[in-house]
């Protein structure tokens, strides 16, 4: 470890190097940095840093706090590149900070055309070369110079249409393209995934997540319902460089709670799509929730794992889906391998051999209300899981919360919710949450830790034997990865709505957790 520490210390004294595609591919060999939204391309969110560990985490303390001063809760996961932290905030703001002190290097503010609302969160940057890429609430992709925060180019993904099209995700860079998704399935959009040239901002390809009539999959939509079929792509995809395949979770169909106007399976909503990132062509898809009427999109992290699956090494993609099932697929072919419930669910009796759910009776939203678990926000959601290669466990936040779902035929008005009525939390029981350690080979729970409220924060795994996690009451917590014992906690003062990350500068390990409008960074006291 000492030798490794020395190397890190040396690296931080060198002038910042350009972040090449090769560095992104090997992001996990730069343990001191955090080069993509997920920390690498596979989204394991595990770091081989063990300075902070199960023995000393009790001494962890706040080292610095950066106040953005912006409204809204930060949902960003910062990048750290050679001692510089790059982060986005809501409403088109972004910052570069000294990662050791939190002191600001520059700030960027997106210029909105007059009359456009700016209230949307943002989840972070992507980087390539000396360029940073982010999206804006009015659905632009923006490239900034990493050294100065200066705007290099800006491209509109889709016309604003009274706020119908928005964007919140952190982009992903693959080779010379920056790849992004869109939000707005609640407002009657037709979703897509776009790739833009990192140098010029020119669009290279578009993959429509809702096929038109006549295209493959178009037959799964009633009449012209595909035109407003939703299928947002509001979370970042993952990427396998060896298979040259991009994996992206697609959102719910629209209108959300009224399926009558869009009879059919509604491809590729609530699916995982595997794309060729060079040309944007579909390689395979797997639909978790055909004809969804509960807003259970598939935007949750598609984590890439290479595991020994029942006797042979296989390339897998796993996802704890919003619909309360944990899925394992073969990521070369899309073959369904396993699906097991990880939370209470009252909508599917089982999954068939191909992973298609067999529905319980009376699980559709209704005029008088249908009580169903999980609730609209799902048993899992966009908060990131992590995987520890030593314990071989998958750590994630579970929401135990049920809703009453109502339905009503929606009226489409541009820029207005196209939702098909509402859902409402049940009143006959309180919600709660779990941090769960699950064996991805079996779907069995190894341990869990109960939260008082259903959480909105993800997890981070480290070689220090720790899992960092957050809850809806504002606690940042550290757990023993093996046993689930809570070893440390810090009350950040407001609900945590993103996922922790870690990095190292000059031989010192830091853990960062944005909470509210502040970026909070923790470290052990300097001896």
């Amino acid at each position: 470890m000492n030798r490794v520490l020395c190397l890190f210390a040396l690296a931080s004294l060198l002038p910042a190097q350009s972040v090449t595609f090769d560095r992104l591919v090997h992001a996990l060999s730069e343990q001191q940095n955090w080069l993509t939204y997920w920390g690498d391309y596979s989204a394991v969110r595990h770091r081989d840093l063990n300075q902070i560990n199960t023995s000393n985490v009790k001494n962890l303390r706040a080292d610095w706090i950066f106040q953005t001063g912006q409204t809204g809760s930060l949902e960003t996961v910062p990048l750290v590149v050679d001692g510089v932290m790059y982060l986005t905030a809501g409403n088109g703001y972004a910052y570069a900070l000294d990662a050791r002190s939190g002191r600001r290097l520059w700030m960027y503010k997106h210029a909105f055309p007059p009359g456009r609302k700016a209230n949307a969160p943002n989840r972070g940057f992507a980087i390539l070369g000396n360029r940073l890429f982010m999206v804006t609430p009015d659905a632009n992709v923006v490239a900034l110079e990493a050294r100065t925060g200066k705007l290099l180019w800006q491209t509109e993904m889709a016309e604003f249409h009274n706020g119908q099209y928005t964007a919140t995700l952190a982009p992903i860079v693959i080779k010379d393209k920056v790849i992004v998704g869109i939000s707005g399935a609640e407002l009657g959009i037709r979703g897509f995934i776009d790739a833009y040239d990192t140098a010029t901002g020119k669009r290279a390809w578009r993959f429509w997540t809702v096929p038109a009539n006549g295209e493959p999959g178009g037959e799964t939509w009633l009449a012209d319902s595909w035109k407003r079929g939703g299928g947002s792509t509001w979370m970042t995809g993952t990427y396998d460089p060896r298979l040259n395949t991009l994996y992206w979770g697609v959102g719910n169909p629209g209108p959300d709670l009224d399926g009558y106007v869009r009879k059919g399976d509604n491809l590729y909503t609530c699916s995982l799509v595997a794309l060729d990132p060079d040309i944007g062509k579909l390689k395979w898809y797997f639909q978790f929730t055909p004809h969804d009427t509960h807003d259970w999109d598939a935007a949750e992290t598609p984590m890439l794992l290479d595991l020994n699956w029942r006797g042979r090494e296989r390339k897998l993609v796993v996802q704890a889906n919003r619909n309360a099932f944990f899925y394992v697929l073969d990521r070369e072919t899309g073959e369904f391998l396993m699906g097991k419930p990880f939370a209470r669910q009252s909508w599917a009796t089982e999954l068939d051999a191909k992973g298609r759910p067999l529905l319980m009776k009376d699980q559709e939203p209704s005029v008088d209300g249908t009580r169903l678990c999980p609730g609209l926000a799902g048993a899992a959601n966009w908060m990131a899981p992590s995987y520890n290669p030593e314990t071989r466990l998958f750590y994630f936040a579970v929401r135990e919360q049920c809703d009453v779902y109502y339905t009503n035929p929606p009226v489409y008005i541009e820029g207005r919710p196209y939702f098909g009525s509402v859902s409402r939390g049940v009143t006959d029981e309180p919600e709660w949450g779990l941090l769960k350690a699950l064996d991805p080979l079996t779907g069995e729970t190894k341990w869990d830790f109960r939260y008082f409220h259903a959480p909105w924060a993800g997890t981070l795994s480290t070689a220090g034997g720790l899992i960092f996690a957050g809850d809806a009451d504002g606690y940042l917590m550290a757990f023993d990865a093996k046993t689930g014992k809570n070893l440390w906690r810090f009350s950040t003062g407001t609900a945590i709505q993103n996922s922790p990350m870690t990095y190292m500068v000059n031989g010192r390990q830091y853990v960062t957790m944005p909470s509210g409008s502040a970026v909070m960074t923790f470290a052990l006291p300097v001896e």
């Binding site: 005029v367 008088d368 209300g369 109502y406 339905t407 009503n408 035929p409 009226v411 207005r416 009525s421 509402v422 859902s423 409402r424 009143t427 309180p430 109960r450 939260y451 008082f452 409220h453 809850d471 009451d473 504002g474 606690y475 906690r489």
Partner: protein
């Protein structure tokens, strides 16, 4: 041309008509999703006041109703709702179809004067406040006659656990030395719990320093199912007369630091 013109007129009028129908259906959906839990599926009341009588407590004009929905009612469990302008208009239009659907409310049978004696004799003021009298440990009753139907109040007396307002949920803490402390849950998170006991004192605990924290599934109020029929009717008649100003009790709560 004339045919086209006539066709356009017919189309327009049918559009206007269907728009109204859709508006009401939309308003109903909003009502069922957001209001019905407290006010009943048809506005007949429950945890929240009756909405199907022609006269509403906070004013009966469209503007009054919109104001109550958008701003909430301070000091009560009526929250502020963030509906957009059109959605709010559709909701109010739907509410209008409910008003007057209730038969003209007759006064509750029974003798309010005797009912007041039942109230005093039964020790209700030990937990409830009317005006400036009594405790604020339990829900305030200053305005209960305006806010709740007699059926709901009767149920609350004989079976208080049938519906427990969230802000009066109970919690019991068992300390390491085996002491049981029960109170109204003021706040709770993964690691701590704060409650207000019957003596109106805050008690605060770290969960790892106590034996157990048990959420109370039953109401902290005892069931008064042994009241005889006349006493019950008189008590209901008395409570029905209570249409007082909530601010009296709210001021006491504020002074005592109770939310």
């Amino acid at each position: 041309m004339r045919i086209a013109y006539t066709a356009a007129l017919v189309l327009c009028s049918s559009l206007a008509w269907s728009q109204t129908g859709a508006d009401l259906a939309d308003g109903q959906a909003t009502f069922r999703g957001n209001c019905a839990f407290c006010h009943g599926l048809t506005g007949g009341g429950g945890r929240g006041p009756i909405l199907n009588s022609a006269r509403l407590a906070h004013g009966s004009t469209d503007a009054d109703i919109k104001n109550v929905i958008s701003a909430g009612v301070p000091g009560t469990s009526m929250p502020a709702f963030d509906f957009d302008k059109d959605e709010l208009a559709r909701l109010v239009a739907y509410l209008r179809t409910l008003s007057g659907s209730a038969a003209k409310a007759a006064p509750v049978a029974g003798d309010p004067v005797r009912g007041r004696k039942v109230y005093e004799r039964s020790g209700c003021a030990g937990c409830h406040r009317i005006g400036t009298e009594g405790s604020v440990y339990g829900p305030e009753l200053t305005r209960i006659g305006a806010g709740r139907s007699p059926e709901y109040i009767r149920e609350s007396i004989v079976n208080p656990s049938a519906d427990i307002p969230q802000e009066y949920g109970g919690v019991t803490v068992i300390t390491r030395d085996g002491k049981r402390i029960t109170g109204v849950r003021i706040n709770e998170d993964t690691f701590t719990v704060q409650l207000r006991n019957a003596s109106q004192n805050f008690q605060m605990f770290q969960k790892d320093e106590v034996q157990q924290v048990i959420p109370e599934t039953k109401s902290l109020m005892p069931a008064y199912s042994s009241l005889d029929k006349d006493d019950m009717q008189n008590l209901l008649a008395y409570l029905d007369t209570l249409h007082g100003d909530l601010n009296a009790g709210a001021a006491v709560k504020k002074a005592e630091g109770i939310r």
